[in-house]
Structures are given as C-alpha cells and as structure tokens.
Amino acid sequence: MQPALLRYLRVIAPEAAEDVAGEIWLQVVTGLAGFRGGEEAFRGWLFTIARHRAVDWGRSRARRRTVPLAQSGVAERLAAPDAADVALERMSTQAVLALVGALPRDQAEIIVLRVVAGLDAQVVARIVGKSPGAVRVAAHRGLRRLAEAVDRAGVTR
C-alpha cells in the first residue's frame, strides 16, 4: 500500500510526499486498535487520513513559506513531463504520474484514488467531499485531458 499512498501524495502534496506518508502511517498505527473492517474499508480509511494530513501540510506550508518558489528547487520537480515520452511507449510509472500531477488538482487526485488506490466512486466521493456524480465528471475530464496531451504529442500507433 505504500506505493499507492506515495503516488497519491505526490499528486496532492508533491514536495513532502515521504514525510507526510510517515505521519500518515503513524496515525494509522495509532488508530489500528480501534479499526474494524476488511481490506476495502482499510484502504478507504487510509486514504481519508492521507487527504487530511496532506491538507494540514498544505496549510502549514503556506504559513511557513519564506523561500521564494524559484529558489527552492520545487519548480523543476513540478514541471510537466514530456507528453511525447509518455506517448511513445517510453511510459513509466513516474512519467505518467507526473503527467497526472500536472492536471487540475481535483481531477488528478480523483484519478489516483480511483485507479491507483482502487477505491470505488462512492468511497472517493466521501473522501474528497463531492457527490459521486461530480467525482465521475472530474475523473472523465482528467482522462480526456490525458488523452489530449498525448494526442497533441502527435503520436499515432
């Protein structure tokens, strides 16, 4: 589950994915004794915690930031990858993840929760605080954008 969690965090808290993951596992371990339910429920719980932690981190980062973005090195890490690379069968997990990360945030996190965390639309809706219909629309928009991006790279098969 750690890779799935990291990928989600790379999309919603890219600068601090590993650190936030550590906090999340800590919270999970603490809450484990009180947890009841099977694997599906556990995954839903895990990613609910993940989102809360990432939101908290985002807020505290906004308060703490003193280094200009340009100097922090973050800009390079967040730069969108080459869509042609992705399209031309040099696909790698990291390349696709970066492409997804370049989507609008709500689309990106919904796609990761659906596809990487394997959560169904109802559970994702609860986690992100939207209706299932809105989740579906956002996911579709995201996928269409991904398709457009590789299309513009001019790849034919």
Binding site: E18, V29, M91, G118, L143, R145, A147, E148
Partner: protein
C-alpha cells in the same frame, strides 16, 4: 464524405462509457477509439508495481514511527530503548491490537502493516509465541467477564484466527498459559467459575504479563524488526509489490485484450 477524417483528434473521442470502463479497470469493449488503448496503458502504468524510489519511502515511514516510539520511551537508558520501543508500540496500538498483531490475527493487509511498523509476523505466517497468545487470551477472558458482548465477539474472532479455528481456542490458550477458555466457558458467555479465576488470575499475572510481554514482545519485535530491516528491500517489496502487481494485472488485462485483437 465517406472515409474523410479530420486531421488530429481532440479528447472528445472517448465517450462516457469507455471512460467508466477505464476507471474501473475493466477490459475494453471492441470498436473503441485508438486513444482508449493509449489511456488504458497509461492507467496501467499509473497503477503499476512499486518502483525503487517508492520502497525507499518506507524507510521514512519507519523512521517516523521510530521517532514516536523513542519519544514514548524517552528517559530510559539507551540499553533498554529498543525493548521499550516495542513496548511503546504495544501502548500505541492498545494492548489488544498489538497482541493481535503479534499473534498474526489481524486481517491480511493490516497484518502486513503491523509487520512493517512493529515487526509483527507478516500476513499468512504462523502466529507468534506465547507472550502474544497470553495477551490475546487474557483480553478475551476479560471481555467475557466484563462485557460487552461485542468486545468478546471481536476478541473471539481474533483468537479463532490465531488459533486456527474456534474449536481450537481452548487448547491454544491453555498452551499459552491461560486455561479455562474451553467451549463451555465461551458459549456460557458468563463464566461463573471463571470470574473469580479470571479476575484474580488476571490481576496477578497481569503485572507480570505486561513486564514479560513487554520484554518478550520487545525481544521478539526487536529481533524480528532487526531481521526485517536487514532484509528490508526484499521483505517489504513483498506485500507492496504483490498488491500493486494485482492492480497492474487488472489494467494490463486491457492492453492484453488489445494486442490479441485484429
């Protein structure tokens, strides 16, 4: 007009149903646009197996946990810090949770998590030793004596998993040093002969049990954790890798379908 194609295509080539299929990881129906296969492959990559950078992230997770455990054990001499870390794990998890973890009695992925975090045995391995069994059986005894019924049902389920079946609980707990949990006691739900025993037996050894359990589990956990960290990459790659592989297969199925087609 027949056969005329606009040069280039926008993403509108993918309709709602195809997109739903892609999101659910289902095989693509025939006659979908070429784009659908491309997106399917991208999603398969997205959900693919762990890459080395991600496994390294688990080290950070462990480090965060170790910091918390060290804090819980602060003030103690460095020599016993390792054992106290595991004891802190028990405190953090709640005695029942840690006992269940060491007895291998948690649901699969949760057991694997406990394996990674506190050195409990991974899912699928035989339950661990007497200290964990003693704690688990003790938890059950107390739940039977004090209620509510939901707590004892819960503990009974964990015990059944650890002992290898509900009918084996009596013998398993007896072997762990907690006799008196045979079928009669359990079905009665109100162990009249037991409360005296359970309470007094529970009280005296409880202090000892905590000490022993703390040490034993500490020893075990440290030992296991130590072993696990030595073999870290392989051990941890297991569950995560398997989990992601399952997902990749799910999506890879789509690509497979495509290649088999015309």
């Amino acid at each position: 007009m027949d056969g005329f194609l606009f040069p280039g295509r926008c993403g509108g080539g993918l309709d709602e149903l195809v997109l739903d299929v892609l999101l659910d990881g289902q095989p693509l129906p025939p006659d979908v646009p070429e784009q659908a296969y491309l997106v399917a492959e991208m999603l398969a990559c997205l959900a693919g197996p762990a890459v080395p950078g991600e496994l390294a992230g688990q080290a950070a997770a462990r480090a965060a946990y170790a910091r918390a455990a060290a804090w819980a054990g602060r003030g103690a001499a460095a020599g016993v810090r390792a054992r106290l870390a595991a004891g802190a794990a028990a405190a953090v998890l709640g005695l029942g949770g840690a006992a269940a973890a060491f007895a291998g009695a948690l649901p699969g992925p949760v057991q694997d998590l406990a394996h990674q975090m506190i050195g409990a045995p991974p899912a699928g391995r035989a339950p661990a030793g007497r200290a964990a069994a003693y704690l688990l059986c003790g938890e059950y005894e107390r739940a039977l004596a004090q209620g509510p019924a939901s707590a004892s049902a819960d503990a009974s389920q964990k015990l059944a998993m650890a002992a290898g079946g509900a009918s084996k609980i009596g013998a398993w707990c007896a072997a762990a040093g907690r006799p008196g949990l045979g079928p009669a006691a359990r079905s009665a739900g109100n162990p009249k002969p037991q409360p005296g025993n359970a309470k007094t037996a529970g009280q005296k050894p409880r202090g000892k049990a905590r000490g022993q359990a703390g040490q034993e589990s500490g020893g075990k956990a440290t030992g296991q954790a130590g072993q696990e960290s030595r073999g870290k990459a392989t051990g941890q790659a297991g569950p995560a890798g398997q989990e992601s592989r399952g997902k990749a297969t799910r999506h890879a199925g789509q690509s497979g379908t495509r290649r088999a087609g015309p």
